[in-house]
């Protein structure tokens, strides 16, 4: 984009179309639907973290009055290992997915589903669970990711051989895969370095903490057609995954997405959905399955605990000479941790000549991890950005200056290979350096830290339709659940192209039979990719409007121009412009209804970079850390609806601060989660946080017609390190482990003495 485009709708802040329903409680979420004759489902979960299932006998449960169906793995087809693409930033093995939905011969974490029941009321369903007889052979669990790599560790899967090792190992292990990213000569780089540090970092298992638990209602008709209502980030993904797990044709499953009360990546797979369908097929009645909070914590996908080792060397001028990294990520019960994106993103903001990153994907007896906002990146950035802070300290350099000296720019080669097109990382660093926050005085016991973050942003597949109504309004139809304000953003883009007020555009999230295929809402892709489809569909509508105007005026279509919501005739005749409303009014006589549709695989998602400034205050007596000021600066391409872009930044920071200071899964030695509730798993609430300031840097993405790049994931990448770096500057103690909870901080402070 040579000239910045002038927008009339994009960049404004209208009230979101779904806002009123959400603030009045009218919006319907996953658990809100009830159908006549509906049964209530419950899931029996493993009481052991690691055990063989010798026998399951569901018969006693079936004898209970009111029980209409009981299912175990015997009721489902065994499916072979087959890789597909999920919403998790990597491949999904459908055999693993199937065994995660319902254990077959082995349970691999405490809470792993082993059976499900449908009954006439929840109390009977609960009682029926207690009647199912399960005979376990208990095995020793392994929970720690380093311990799981030991040669004598208990094996979760006796057919798991490490991929990425040549030659292939002769014995199975818990190490599912090894990856290596390498460039240059690290040993030569370290030899040239004036300062070298080597550190180890640890992060714990954390949950996305979405407020709405997973919920599904399934109804199956006599002809075998199943309809599923559920809260999900990807109705098409749910349809496809249920089809695989249940071995049903996709044509027999329709998915209707409800409103969604948070997902953050955690609702890009299936848990209760296939069980609800199977129970409804068995019982011949609708079945509702709703997880409670404890089930969400015990048995849905958190993100990985990690163990990270970083060796980093720099020259006196601040140039990073070499970096060597070992990343170990816990995948949970089945392979597939986000170690790959962790490895690719952790040093992506910097130009590096000599780098080697080695990553390991390791299974442990915890729930299978799932995507969590910029999957894998926050932990990796915690290590990389903490190490950079130490280098800056050693060289007596300003930490932002150190980053500026090494920052990638347009045309730089990313550490994971490709060359960056237009990016705005340097602009975020400069905006942070020039922000009043960076020079504001600090009070006693306060410290200021900075950290940066990167996320690729995804494109993937989208379909959108734009239908004009008889009164000259427009309906924008997509298949992407709205988790962050995407409805109004899509409406703004359509309004921009049509030249009408956004209030005359109604955005709709459709079911899987009403709109063409859409990939998940995730990867910061909807406003970018589905937005592209909306723009394409709207431009098609505008072409048709021009054609209709030409027919009405009896002029060649080339003489018609669309401006500000009206057709204008350019042939020199004094014709009054034709409004959209007038053209639609005459549509019946000029060719019928006007609508457009576009389906595409979006290319050119612009990478996102952020720079954060964090002030913490420490209570030296209790070890409690308070974030007292926070500023998030990010290159957002073009902020379509700035309020929701700011909201994405603030939300990511809030989650990152919780991760940094409080959140962690605490297990006992038997693999039982001890804090499966929001009282003990403490996410930050409004009173824990300061107002989070945002600075939107707009470096347009040249591959998007409105300059859009994804924004939702970058903001959760820097906070762990930003908080740790601030805490170091407040206390002189460097923390290598998150969460930096009061006991751990107090211990650190005492070690200083």
């Amino acid at each position: 984009m040579s000239e910045p485009r002038k927008f009339h709708s994009v960049g404004t802040r209208p009230i979101r179309h779904d806002g009123l329903d959400k603030v009045t409680g009218r919006a319907r979420f996953g658990a809100d639907l009830s159908l006549p004759g509906m049964l209530y489902g419950k899931v029996l979960r493993s009481s052991h973290a690691h055990a063989h299932i010798r026998r399951i006998d569901p018969r006693p449960a079936l004898q209970l009055e009111g029980v209409r169906a009981v299912i175990t793995s015997a009721d489902r087809p065994e499916i072979p290992s087959e890789h597909g693409t999920g919403g998790e930033g990597g491949p999904v093995d459908f055999r693993d997915l199937s065994r995660n939905v319902l254990a077959r011969d082995k349970v691999l974490y405490h809470g792993h589903p082993v059976a499900a029941v449908a009954a006439t009321n929840p109390r009977i369903a609960e009682e029926a669970l207690g009647r199912i007889e399960v005979d376990y052979e208990i095995l020793r669990p392994v929970l720690d990711v380093e311990a799981a790599m030991a040669p004598d560790a208990p094996l979760l899967h006796d057919d798991l051989y490490t991929r990425g090792v040549d030659p292939r190992p002769e014995t199975p292990s818990n190490v599912a895969a090894r990856i290596v990213i390498e460039r240059g000569d690290t040993e030569k780089g370290f030899a040239e370095a004036d300062v070298v540090i080597e550190r180890e970092y640890r992060t714990e298992t954390v949950h996305q903490g979405y407020i709405e638990p997973h919920a599904a209602v399934a109804s199956t008709a006599e002809d075998g057609q199943s309809v599923l209502w559920c809260c999900t980030q990807g109705p098409f993904l749910v349809r496809s995954f249920c089809s695989k797990v249940l071995q049903l044709p996709i044509s027999q499953i329709k998915v209707i997405p409800s409103e969604i009360g948070g997902g953050f990546g955690g609702k890009t797979t299936v848990y209760v959905e296939p069980l609800a369908i199977l129970l409804s097929r068995r019982a011949g009645r609708p079945v509702k399955l709703v997880m409670d909070r404890e089930e969400v914590f015990r048995a849905t996908g958190p993100t990985s605990a990690t163990s990270i080792r970083v060796r980093m060397g720099a020259r006196k001028d601040g140039t990073i000479a070499a970096v060597k990294v070992r990343l170990v990520y816990a995948a949970g019960a089945f392979p597939g941790s986000p170690v790959v994106p962790g490895a690719m993103t952790m040093l992506a903001p910097y130009q590096l000549e000599n780098v080697r990153i080695e990553g390991y994907d390791v299974v442990v007896n915890k729930p299978k991890t799932n995507a969590y906002r910029a999957p894998g990146s926050s932990m990796a950035a915690f290590a990389a950005e903490s190490a950079l802070d130490e280098i800056a300290q050693e060289l007596a350099l300003d930490p932002l200056e150190l980053r500026l000296r090494n920052a990638v720019r347009t045309g730089s080669q990313a550490v994971y290979g490709p060359t960056f097109k237009a990016i705005g990382f340097v602009e975020t660093l400069e905006a942070a350096r020039n922000h009043p926050h960076y020079r504001a005085p600090l009070a006693p016991n306060q410290g200021r830290g900075v950290a940066c973050g990167f996320w690729f942003n995804a494109g993937m597949q989208s379909t959108a339709a734009v239908n004009l109504t008889e009164d000259g309004s427009a309906v924008v139809v997509s298949g992407c659940p709205d988790i962050g304000g995407s409805r109004v953003s899509l409406a703004l883009m359509a309004a921009e192209e049509l030249g009408i007020p956004v209030e005359r555009v109604r955005p709709v999230v459709a079911d899987t039979e009403t709109i063409g295929y859409n990939d998940v809402t995730g990867g910061s892709r909807v406003t970018f990719a589905t937005g592209m489809a909306v723009i394409e569909a709207t431009r098609d509508v505008v072409r048709q409007l021009c054609k209709r105007a030409a027919l009405i005026w009896e002029v060649p279509v080339e003489q018609v121009e669309w401006r500000e919501g009206e057709a204008h005739c350019r042939n020199g005749e004094a014709k009054d412009p034709l409004s959209l409303r007038e053209i639609v009014r005459q549509a019946v006589r000029t060719g019928g209804p006007i609508s457009g549709q576009a389906s595409l695989t979006a290319r050119g998602a612009g990478p996102g970079f952020g720079t954060h400034i964090c002030d913490t205050e420490i209570d030296p007596d209790t070890g409690r850390v308070q974030v007292v000021r926070y500023t998030a600066v990010q290159d957002v391409g073009k902020a379509v609806h700035p309020s929701y872009v700011e909201g994405q930044l603030q939300g990511g920071v809030a989650q990152g601060i919780g991760w940094a200071l409080n959140e962690e899964f605490v297990y006992d030695e038997n693999g039982v989660l001890l804090n499966a509730g929001f009282l003990d798993y403490r996410i930050p609430v409004a009173s824990d946080l300061p107002m989070i300031d945002t600075v939107l840097v707009e470096v347009p993405n040249p591959s998007h017609p409105h300059g859009v790049r994804g924004v939702g994931e970058v903001p959760i990448v820097p906070p762990l390190a930003a908080v740790a770096n601030a805490l170091f500057r407040a206390t002189g103690v460097r923390f290598y482990r998150v969460p930096m909870s009061p006991p751990r901080v107090l211990e650190g402070l005492q070690s200083r003495k």
Partner: protein
């Protein structure tokens, strides 16, 4: 000629070669040329990967055009949370 860069994980199948030049109009042409030269790469090119064409990442590509000076990198598929 487009330049194709192989990540470390592909180099077992390319005999340690980390980059080659290929004449092709689109990614399908690139894949055909690579498979002809490195038959062991075939399985890896048949899905489940992404490529960056001149810095733009595309999951599961096939028909994306390739320019005479394009730089192509292989990546794992990119999604997110």
């Amino acid at each position: 000629m487009a330049t194709i860069f192989f990540p470390k994980s592909f180099q077992a199948q390319t005999g340690g070669i980390d980059q080659v030049e290929v004449e092709a109009l689109d990614i399908r042409g690139v894949f055909r040329a690579l498979e002809a030269r490195f038959p062991a790469l075939g399985d890896r090119l048949r899905g489940g990967i992404a490529v960056a064409i001149d810095g733009e990442i595309v999951n599961d590509p096939l028909l994306e055009p390739v320019g005479p000076d394009s730089q192509i990198h292989f990546l794992p598929p990119i999604s997110g949370g």
